[in-house]
Amino acid sequence: MEITSTLFTAKAIYVGIIFAITLGVAAYSTYFERIIAAFMQDRVGPDRAGPFGILQPLADAVKMFMKEDFIPANSNKWLFIAGPCLSMLTALMTSAVVPFGDQLDLGDGIILDLQGIDVNIGILWVFGIVSLGVYGVLIGGWASNNKYSLIGAIRAASQNISYELAMGLSIIAILMLSGSLSTKSIVETQQNGHWNILYQPLGFVIFLVCAFAECNRTPFDLPECETELIGGYHTEYSSMKLGFYLFSEYINMFISGAVMATLYFGGYDYLFNDYVAQISWLGEYAYNVSALLGLVVLIVKALIFVFIFMWVRWTLPRFRYDQLMGLGWTGLIPLAMFNVVLTGASMLFTVNDGGSNWMTVGASWAGVIIMLVVTFAYSEMKYKKKKLATA
């Protein structure tokens, strides 16, 4: 690709736009987080800066920049600075492989993919970057030279590593269905309403729980548990370095929403995309309009996930640490393995059936029902045992 070519310019503009959207969404997530919290707790929320308080993120940013930038004595200075930078870097790198839309026809035979890079290993890229995200927290927490920071960082690391396993296993079922690691082909197999959520309800639930844990959001925000650890890994941080840590959490929320939409909710697919692509009065632009609408649809889907993240945060209390590890290792990982076996078996039985997917759908939902019944029966049994023990 030549640097002077139209395609390069278009790609650069696209990357810039996605970058701006990500940062803008992350900035306004802080505002909506507080608005939603206020709504759920029957308060007013931020309403002073501008109409309805919509300038609040700006005011927060100014406050963050104006604060004293403090580096504690006896801390490791370079690593102390590198921590938040790494967090921010890894948070922003993931969106490179998310297909935000189909292709745009720019005329003169130039086709622009609405995706940063379409690599053969797309989903592994996401996975690799997510697994690197823990370095920012770990280095920052250690470099602070503070016991609370260190414990927070170590909690974050062990939590992320534990939940990555279940996350990887839940993705494997998706890869079996689509037969490719590329995010673009995963979306293309889901076109016209064949969304993976219909085939993988169990996998989606596992992935969602793991995404909560990977973003360090409530109910899994043990690394910054105030009652035990003051502020967790960012206890010693102030000013914009703290801002970077907090901001990268919101970026991670948006990007993981986009990844979940890509993997399970059809990506940029929406109900009437074939129809929009053939509207006659739009002429040659019809296909481009359809693609841009797909971009908007994907962002809306990601924002719905951001809302769910906030909803859960203001609804559920925090787990205890052993409960968190118990859920990850003895709950989600066996469940994800069960899901892989179930998906594989249903695919094996329908292999001679000429591509009929009903078996897969039926098996996966039956699996969910069996799982729910077993869980319910187990908890009931445990409850009775406990009652017997106390009686």
Partner: protein, 166 residues
């Protein structure tokens, strides 16, 4: 080719920093950087899958656990005089022997029967065909080996009855 030289120099530099830096945390971080450089080499060889797996497994999981343990143990306090001259000598001899063996082995490699590279070389599809068709038995045996190691680790970490619960 210029990029290859740059990457190789970077790899060697960061790899030597792993053993030269005094602080064990810095060593681990340099080692992570070395893994990234090696992943860069994989990309130059068109092996995207190996690059991703190298980052996920080594940089993302194993090195995080290393860092974890080093941070918990706080090794920086009792570092320099822990190794005697004998240990250093033994290490140098062992390393030197390994180097000689590697050079001797690489001199015997005949590059004439290597298949030419096409666009699909190193892609995950080709790798899957090789692993699950041509070498399926060794692959499964390795997985059993891993399983045994995992059971052993669980066995060692298990609390026995009556042992103190932290």
């Amino acid at each position: 080719m210029n990029f290859w030289y740059f990457l190789t120099a970077l790899t060697l530099l960061s790899a030597s920093m792993v053993i030269l830096s005094k602080n064990p945390i810095h060593s681990v971080l340099y080692l992570v950087f070395t893994f990234f450089c090696i992943s860069g080499h994989y990309v130059l060889l068109n092996a995207q899958f190996l690059m991703a797996v190298n980052i996920v497994v080594y940089a993302g999981a194993i090195m995080v656990l290393f860092l974890f343990v080093i941070m918990m143990m706080d090794l920086s306090k009792n570092s320099p005089d822990s190794k005697s001259t004998l240990t250093k000598l033994a290490g140098a001899i062992l390393g030197g022997t390994l180097l000689v063996i590697l050079i001797a082995a690489s001199r015997k490699v005949d590059l004439k029967d290597v298949k030419p590279i096409d666009a699909q070389t190193g892609m995950v599809e080709g790798l899957g065909q090789i692993l699950y068709r041509d070498y399926v038995l060794p692959f499964e045996l390795v997985s059993i080996l891993f399983f045994v190691a995992m059971v052993g680790a669980v066995m060692l970490g298990k609390r026995e009855a009556g042992e103190r619960n932290f």
